[in-house]
Symmetry: C5
Subunit: 299 residues, 5 copies
């Protein structure tokens, strides 16, 4: 998540230089074709880039809207994880009567929940990140690693511990369903995150947009070169840049769990939950919040 208001030129160029080169080459091609071939035969009607502009505007707008929706939905899902993690810990801490064994189970479950979040984060970011192991007991860890889906396996463990509290009569049915409800919500949120990560945004939209922007830039340059001459190469690229940067902008949001500056700051969110939960358990040595990198973004 970017924190600053102005974007460095270097960042923009790094994102678009390949496309910029292709566009400048195309504009130059269009200029020369018109100057030395078309000019002697016919003039290019203005309505062609105008109509193409309409089609592109729809495409880019559509892509950006859907991309932003995916990004905002992902943010909401993780916001929900924050809220439910706190409620989960609060319920465990106040519902389970004090006592050595009980305290241990509660502590184990809250710590295991932090492990759940770290395992889920690592999976969404497609990284191998063993930080979750820190919050798991050795036996848990071995059971969990038999599963393809680690975070789902952790939830199963939570459910078993909760059942233990219920069967031994430490919590009654009413309290049981409220804590179990949180496990169901975690299952929903983890599945929703996986859905956003695993569903490819329909390729046809992003592919056709690229083709149509290219068509637009070429016909646009053909048309304006009739009035502007060689300056049309610069103008063609500039207008093309407006469309291309908008499109790239949207496509950066479409996979919100990627580990880049446009993504959801999972590191920061997970750490916030970690601190909240540890403090609720009365721990005083909590890790520091995630700080921005270069004062520019958080991950």
């Amino acid at each position: 998540m970017l924190l600053i208001n102005n974007i460095r030129l270097s960042r923009i160029i790094r994102n678009t230089w390949q496309v910029d080169l292709i566009m400048i080459a195309s504009c130059m091609g269009a200029y020369f074709v018109r100057e030395y071939l078309i000019a002697y035969h016919f003039s290019v009607p203005t309505i062609i880039p105008t109509v193409l502009g309409t089609a592109i505007a729809f495409f880019i707008g559509f892509n950006n809207n859907q991309a932003y929706d995916r990004w905002w939905e992902a943010r909401k899902v993780w916001g929900g994880l924050v809220n439910d993690s706190r409620s989960f810990a609060r319920n465990l801490l106040s519902f389970v009567p004090p006592g050595d064994e009980n305290d241990e189970i509660v502590k184990r479950m809250i710590r295991r929940h932090i492990a759940f979040l770290y395992a889920l984060k690592a999976n969404l970011r497609s990284t191998v990140d063993l930080i979750y192991v820190k919050y798991l007991e050795e036996s848990d860890r071995m059971d969990i690693e038999k599963h393809n889906n680690l975070h789902n396996a952790i939830l199963l463990k939570q459910s078993e511990d909760l059942e233990r509290l219920s069967r031994s009569g430490q919590i009654d049915g009413f309290k049981f369903i409220q804590i179990n409800e949180m496990l169901v919500r975690f299952s929903d949120q983890m599945g929703m995150s996986e859905r956003i990560k695993n569903t490819v945004f329909p390729t046809t939209y992003s592919y056709l947009t690229k083709v149509f922007i290219w068509l637009f830039v070429v016909t646009f340059t053909l048309v304006i070169s009739q009035e502007m001459g060689v300056w049309s190469i610069f103008m063609g690229w500039m207008i093309g840049f407006v469309f291309v940067s908008t499109q790239i902008n949207g496509m950066n949001l479409v996979d919100p769990f990627e580990n880049n500056v446009a993504g959801i700051p999972l590191n920061q969110i997970t750490r916030t939950i970690e601190i909240n939960l540890l403090q609720m358990m009365g721990e005083e040595n909590t890790p520091p919040p995630v700080t921005p990198i270069n004062d520019e973004y958080v991950l």
Copy 2:
């Protein structure tokens, strides 16, 4: 679901060649009509295709938005099935106390749930796919096949087994309602899938869009042929192609349960749930995940 970023030309041509031929023929007709008839009487005002372009842009935008919404809703429904299937299995496994008979019921219910998913998938794809039988007991199967709606009949069986656990006191009321809640959600999700499958997207929209695109291509060619001559046939087709491919693109999403590359990858999702549930039951021989076809798409 397409996985690659670039779409093969062959795929595009396969999808649009008929429309392309019609458009080229129409553009040629328009060119000759203007050249040999209209040219001697009047000029065609540019405002006609411009205004038509606005109408078409609305239509295509509207169709694409609604189509994408159907597709994304379908994806969410099946995402919900993933989440609730895991919670269903997790609850059964941890709520029901161990014991020979109990273990058998739990196992039967989880396996029957996999059968439910396969039966629902076959129905949504309008295929006869007997894979669901594998996860059913013989007696279940015979009862179920008396019904028009197989997956609904399977849910009724689940409900009976759940009631058995409840009546024999293996699970208390609190646990009972939480498992039953999952059956209600499955009923909702199966009904939502059927709704998307069975509701025809209002034909008038797709039909009128086709008519208006054709009108646009013809009047557009009439107008630009005044400046471009015979080249207007090519340009008319090209701009028409932009609109047509966008429209076809959207219409490919409108029936997201079809067994094609644009649809929801039900095979992949069902298999994921199958693996998760089998592993949660402790089975080690799980089927492999669904792999992409040609590295291009999954079904």
Copy 3:
């Protein structure tokens, strides 16, 4: 709900002939006014129909979006009725222990629910349709007919029978709340259907749209007749037809419970539920599904 891909010309003409005549007359008027009056004084600027086109595009788009939303919401509400009807029957059948009196109550409640659906359908379609009587006992029927709102009265009856099961100890509190929850949902869905039926889409939108399309057609014809002469009458009508048919198209969806080809196929949906519920009760003589009329549409 239309099932076919192409719409018969006869259907389109039947829907729009009055408007077509008005438009042709207006275009002719505009042509003659310009030819014999305006032409000698000033030319009509192209920007007038262009700007009007923008306003109309907004209006028609807005109307269509809201109309589609009403239609799709109506479809979702009845989809919800399908899902909850099945869950309601499933819960009753599995929760209530077998026994002569119990079986009778369960059967009565499920049949009364089918009556509820038929009574609601008749009300939404503003027809007198006594089919619901078939599924009611005589005493029920007499009580119910004292009420203005028949379907609400049926729900009250359901609630009384459910209370009977609860008070006699046949179902415990947990099962009770789950069945009662379904009655609450039916109450919601019936109220949502009534809301869509009884709320007139703001008249000002549809009225002003008609006025503005007329203004557009007239000024458009004024402008193009400067270049096209008498052919402008045809073109003016054609472009007007594009807008008018889009607008009429949307307005056909705005009242989705009307008994016409654009509406929600309540007959088909109700019958589907009827068959499902009868089969769940083990009845073998179920009525046939609703079949399309002329292979063209279902109601």
Copy 4:
């Protein structure tokens, strides 16, 4: 809520005459300024009103969409009140066992709920309407009037009576939570209504729209007067009228609880609930439904 399809000219003029006069004066000013000042120095480029038109189209579209959403949300909230009021009465009537005292409490609660609706309606319409008193007992009334928020105070009374039923063992915990759930929903719906009423639609949008429409009308008249002469005054006003009436149209929906023809028909809805609830209690003398005024609208 307007019921008719055509809007009387008198109603439109009544709504817009002030703005119409301002626009005609502005168009005349623009005409004379161009004719006697600008004409000798430069011509006004068409692109100016075109670009302004785009900005206005966005603004008006945005305002109308948000206004309609507020209106439709308000309608949904009151639709929810209809549904939950019926469920509330149904639950009370069937859950509470018959008996003199019980019957009295049930009757008192249902009547008090009607008072709640009337008190809420009066508050939303900012009127003093003492009809709610009719359905309250004297002692209730005195307690309630100590509060700033009458309807919230009524809910507190309901909660106390419900607790009375619970504490005396007339209803068990399961039935208790279902009735209490309805009170929570009423609290939600009343708060949602207050939110819509009390949140001013951001003034900046409506204010800037007015300014930009005025700018548009002036520059539009400047441009078309170059071709149309004095007729531009009429045309400028006409196009301005199209935008202004659309904007006013939307702003009429933005406060849906106002007591005007565009608002939600709270009188009608409240009366419908009143009749339903009285009939459910077996009363036969129910007040008549609200009838349309002049066959034109209901309030």
Copy 5:
């Protein structure tokens, strides 16, 4: 929240004067560049600002829609806090049987909830506002201040008191879950508020919009100066102002918890809840409602 219909000129100038100066300087620059450099070489095609206008219209529309959505979501979240605060107090007051100790706990919990709201408000507005301390007992306060997240710590305290009521048998499980449900909702609403506050609206959108508006103003002035001469500076600024003010307008809504006139009036809402809750507890000396500042806005 602004309450008046017309915005003072001074407020607009205060918000935009920097941008206005930049725009006027850019327009002057464009005018002179065209007059003394470009005019001798080529003419600038009108299509350039037209196409840029389309891109900008999309950007500004997108930004405004998302900004309004954030603002309205924030308003809904706090509306939900109003509703649930009332239900929370109502439930506590009617569920807990009278008695000295009980009354004290109930009073403490309701007062602590008011503290929760004030602490949350101070956090969202990034101010140090110790008003919440007034409603807390000394011991609570010391525990709470050990946490980074004060409002989360307050919820933990509430949960402990609720558990106390439950464990001592003052409220049964049914009542317990209903009050606890409210704590879960408060946790959700507080997390949702934090999400809106802490998620930076993607910087790329607001940054690129600024760049593109500037490009538009410059090319627009280049084009119209061909017809209007020096007046183009004024017109370029005016049209630029239309876009800029719209953009700034939207960006004022994007952080709805800021303590400015465009934000959600948290002071007013919190005070409303405070008054409602105190009156429900029977207190007669309630603080006055928040009054508008200058009759212009509330905070």
